[in-house]
Symmetry: C2
């Protein structure tokens, strides 16, 4: 006998983002690489008061084992919030608290995916969702996408002709990595097609509340008459990521299985963290807090857009995100973003080459920039250095 790993292990690769971030934590680096919220807006003082109050009022329970579904008052708060903001109206008893939204993706993969099953996704799509689903040995088929979302005719064609499609993964609001947002009409058409084919969807909405202008759009889930959409959210971007609190809102037939799966995966999410967030929501105004975050990110988005338009060569294209944390840059054909990254790192600027966001790879001239974690001044400086590296690229 000799040690043999599970087959899935061969598919796991160290994430490029992760390796880059190891360099990017050096203080001299201007990093557009991560997806880090701005720590300046973390409600530290409020959390101190909240933590003490939770332990005073219910320390014995906050430190004890608790139910897999999550802390009921928090489930009610989440249910009310996603109903008010995104018209996701499932009732609190269909809300499962998860250990960050990454765990929600893992649980969804575990629920739906056998080896060889197909996940349809946007192209590009969120890197860590690829990792989560790949661990269940899924294959990926990228659905052609324009500025309004997945192209419905293309999706219909793929659904008609592809075997073993078990899941569709989408990020309709301020997508990571592209910064794009699906139009209302596209959401409706997508939901209608999904009901027709009865294929489960994971709708991932970590950024939806971080809107800089215009009106919030209803989630795809709000048009989900057959209960096919597993809606995923998180406090990471509207509060802080360090507590690792996310959620799933799903129809009972999925919810029950997800609870069983989560039970075997980590029993339940931190009782203390759940009660801290619930108490914060009771004592403070999260909407006001989100408004503060949005004001900061809007200025940073503006700084990045203005700097790119002023300094990048005209042949370099970028998206103009209406919210969220990211913009997507397309270099002229023939440019290799990985090569540019090395040139930029010599100038102490970091970003993530786009290749990792395509599940099947091979797109070399794109990259993702994050604008939430650097000051406007550093954004301007960093874009200037990138512009120089692009001009000198060979």
């Amino acid at each position: 006998m000799a040690v043999k790993f599970a087959e899935r292990v061969e598919l796991l690769k160290a994430s490029e983002i992760r390796e880059i971030l190891k360099v990017a934590v050096r203080p001299e680096i201007i990093s557009f690489a991560g997806g880090l919220p701005a720590p300046e807006v973390f409600p530290i003082e409020e959390l101190k008061r909240t933590a003490v109050q939770v332990l005073d009022e219910a320390g014995g329970q906050a430190l004890q084992y608790s139910t897999t579904e999550g802390f009921e008052p928090l489930r009610r708060q989440v249910a009310a919030r996603i109903a008010a903001k995104f018209a996701v109206d499932v009732g609190y008893d269909n809300v499962l608290i998860t250990s960050g939204s990454q765990q929600a993706l893992d649980l969804a993969g575990k629920l739906f995916l056998d080896a060889g099953d197909v996940v349809l996704c946007e192209s590009p799509t969120y890197l860590a969702a690829i990792s989560a689903f790949r661990a269940y040995q899924a294959r990926f088929v990228a659905v052609p996408t324009d500025d309004e979302g997945m192209i419905i005719e293309e999706l219909a064609n793929i659904l008609r002709t592809t075997e073993r499609v078990k899941l569709i993964y989408v990020i309709p609001d301020f997508q990571n990595p592209s910064g794009r947002t699906w139009s209302l009409e596209r959401r409706r058409q997508f939901a209608a097609l999904v009901q027709e084919y009865e294929v489960p969807v994971v709708e991932d909405n970590p950024y939806g509340e971080l809107r800089f202008a215009g009106e919030t759009l209803p989630a795809v889930k709000s048009f989900d008459s057959k209960g096919l959409v597993v809606y995923v959210g998180t406090f990471s971007k509207i509060f802080c990521p360090g507590l690792r609190i996310g959620w799933i809102a799903a129809a009972a037939k999925f919810f029950e299985k997800l609870v069983l799966i989560k039970q075997g995966t980590d029993l339940h999410t931190s009782s203390l963290s759940q009660r801290e967030i619930a108490k914060f929501l009771e004592l403070y105004d999260l909407d006001a807090h989100v408004a503060k975050i949005v004001a900061v990110y809007r200025r940073r988005r503006d700084a990045m857009m203005t700097a790119m338009d002023a300094m990048f060569p005209a042949a370099v294209k970028h998206t103009y995100p209406q919210g969220g944390l990211f913009t997507w840059v397309e270099l002229p054909a023939g440019f290799k973003a990985v090569k540019l990254l090395h040139d930029c790192l010599e100038r102490n600027v970091a970003f993530v080459p786009g290749d990792s966001f395509f599940p099947n790879g091979q797109v070399e001239n794109t990259l993702r920039l994050n604008f939430s974690n650097m000051s406007e001044e550093r954004i301007r400086e960093g874009i200037g250095r990138m512009a120089a590296a692009i001009r000198e690229y060979r």
Copy 2:
């Protein structure tokens, strides 16, 4: 197309413990059913101070994303602790912080198990480990076990004759559910056999520090010359479970893969919780805290043993645990523990029938009792009521 779950979902069952606990939370119930620590010994005041200090000193980092491996000072503290207590000497850079030890079991399953692979385990064994591994469609083979641990000749025979053995799962200290502890000699023999067959082991040690008498024994991992043992521990029983902080200590070849797997599973464990425990360990004496817990549990163990010996019929056997949270009861042949449970619930006493702890079921006359969560008075009262139910059983 119609919605189809992954094949593994058919294998998931709602846990009997879980359903019972739903009743057992009523205050009038004397519950020996759960595995809950005594909340009276949670260090609530200390944690209030700790939480505030962490946010004062490093709030921005405590609330931010952090590395998958875990908070380095905590990894160093864990490495030092398991080396000092159990001779597990792996170095801090081989310690991975997990979201409770349940997650450690899930990650190990994900690393080693393909559908149809075999996990060898004690019989009975920990219920939630069965759930964790079953999610990867493992089959279980129970290794005959006596009061000193797995019987080596039986294990050797199984290893020689069984195909696809990918993992051996053991709990050598104060086992859940049996309360038994492996002898030193058995640990050595087991480790030697494992090195010979080169089969990975998960050694689960949540209770090892809760010893009521005698000397702590070195972990199986301490005899693991080839780095085959994945050692799993947790703060749940020596501190509190609500924070969900556990760990894996494993050789580099396993550690690297486990980090990649955890990254796709939940990115990382709560930065805030990790820093709170690290700060607690810096400011307070965890050994003194554990000594307090041990004193409480020892009295409760004594109360339960004395009451059972005085009141149960002589034909009812039980283990005499030297530590931990559980004892194991064997009813005379012909008794059905599930039937007895219903009789006991009418008397407001709860426990877990033993059947769930056998991966392949069909042992009807055993049950598990927890003694950590009830006062001595309630333990005596509850055992008295159980004794009455046993006498009146038909």
